[in-house]
Amino acid sequence: MANERVELPQGTLHLLTLRTLALEPQHGWGISERIQQISSNVLKVQQGSLYPALHRLERRGWIRAHWAISENSRRAKYYELTRAGRKQQESEAGAWRKLSAAVAQVLDMV
């Protein structure tokens, strides 16, 4: 199973995080779980890269954080998209789709 996992290309973690938060506000662990589930366990986000990324996104003003009580009644830090983050997410997703479609085309050529 470990072999099926793919390393995240540089920069995609931002997009995946923003995309996940576009569904609903979520805490860090929830984000990594959601990405893993939805990608059918192919993508695994290490907390070593997730938390720095969250701080970077917050600094850029694309997400904001607040403390709330989690589903198992513990205090957790929840992140949500800002309006700028929503726009960013849309444009990044569009760019990624274009890129991956183009790469796929080139790969299917042979």
Binding site: H27, G28, W29, G48, Y51, P52, W67
Partner: protein, 266 residues
């Protein structure tokens, strides 16, 4: 707008550093515990789950470090850490610290004094009205010997002059003993202060009438510095008589601050 937001975020991070750090701790612990719970749910024993998560987590310190970096206050933080480190080092080796401080102090002091002299002699223009319209006349014979102008020659020059609005005569008077103090002075014509536009802070400046007739009672004007330093800012200085070279000179005024002799001789 982005800059303001960035700045506010930076302030929060910088000034509430403890809070932000604590929040980060709590956030990471939450993640850790959730992950452990997940493994326990999937059938691992609690101890195995903890071991597994620890392995995945890697160095918590390095994660925190990266978060700090992402927040972008590394520079200030690092500088503070460096300062703290330096102070600790100095405390361990006080002798060395004293030497360093003295070396820097000496260097600073030397630089400051050199600049002070340079500033006074080279950089500061004369503190008079329109210093660049002033010209200095001297008289030299063929052998290169300097001559002084006699009063009569000065008067002739003054009367025949068409090129300059006014002519001022002056003669340095170095190191005169006045009431036990050594002063540096200048003998000047009565129009000196009017031409240079120097005002008096006390009494009056010299006026042309002071030099109208030879033998009239001579008068003197003190610089602010001399009045302060040699006469203890005596409020009754105006009207006093000072003996200079055996002549009683009446003090008529004190020149404004910063006034210096016009020309410094080699």
């Amino acid at each position: 707008m982005a800059m303001v937001r960035d700045l506010l975020y930076g302030f929060r991070v910088l000034f509430n550093r403890d809070i932000v750090e604590r929040e980060l701790d709590e956030e990471l612990r939450f993640h850790f515990d959730e992950q452990v719970k997940k493994y326990v749910r999937s059938g691992l024993s609690h101890a195995d789950a903890v071991r597994q998560v620890r392995m995945e987590f890697g160095g918590v310190a390095s994660v925190k470090e990266e978060c700090r970096e992402a927040r972008g206050v590394m520079l200030v933080d690092t500088v503070l850490q460096d300062v703290r480190y330096a102070i600790r080092g100095f405390r361990r080796t006080p002798g060395f610290a004293v030497m360093v401080v003295m070396t820097i102090a000496l260097g600073l002091g030397l630089n400051t004094s050199v600049f002070t002299i340079f500033n006074a002699y080279v950089l500061r223009p004369l503190s008079v009205r329109d210093p660049y319209s002033l010209y200095l006349f001297t008289w030299q014979n063929r052998n290169g010997d300097g001559h002084l102008f006699t009063w009569r020659e000065f008067e002739d020059f003054r009367k025949q002059n068409r090129a300059f609005s006014e002519v001022v005569g002056l003669e340095p008077l170095n190191f005169v003993r006045v009431e036990g103090h050594t002063l540096i002075g200048e003998l000047v014509t009565g129009n000196y202060f009017r031409v240079l536009g120097v005002h008096a802070v006390m009494g009056r400046p010299l006026i042309p009438e002071d030099a109208a007739a030879p033998g009239r009672e001579p008068v003197v004007m003190l610089s602010s510095a001399a009045w302060r330093n040699k006469f203890a800012s005596d409020p009754g200085i105006v009207g006093r008589k000072l003996m200079i070279h055996g002549y009683p000179l009446e003090v008529v005024g004190v020149a404004r601050d910063g006034e210096r002799r016009l020309f410094r001789r080699k």
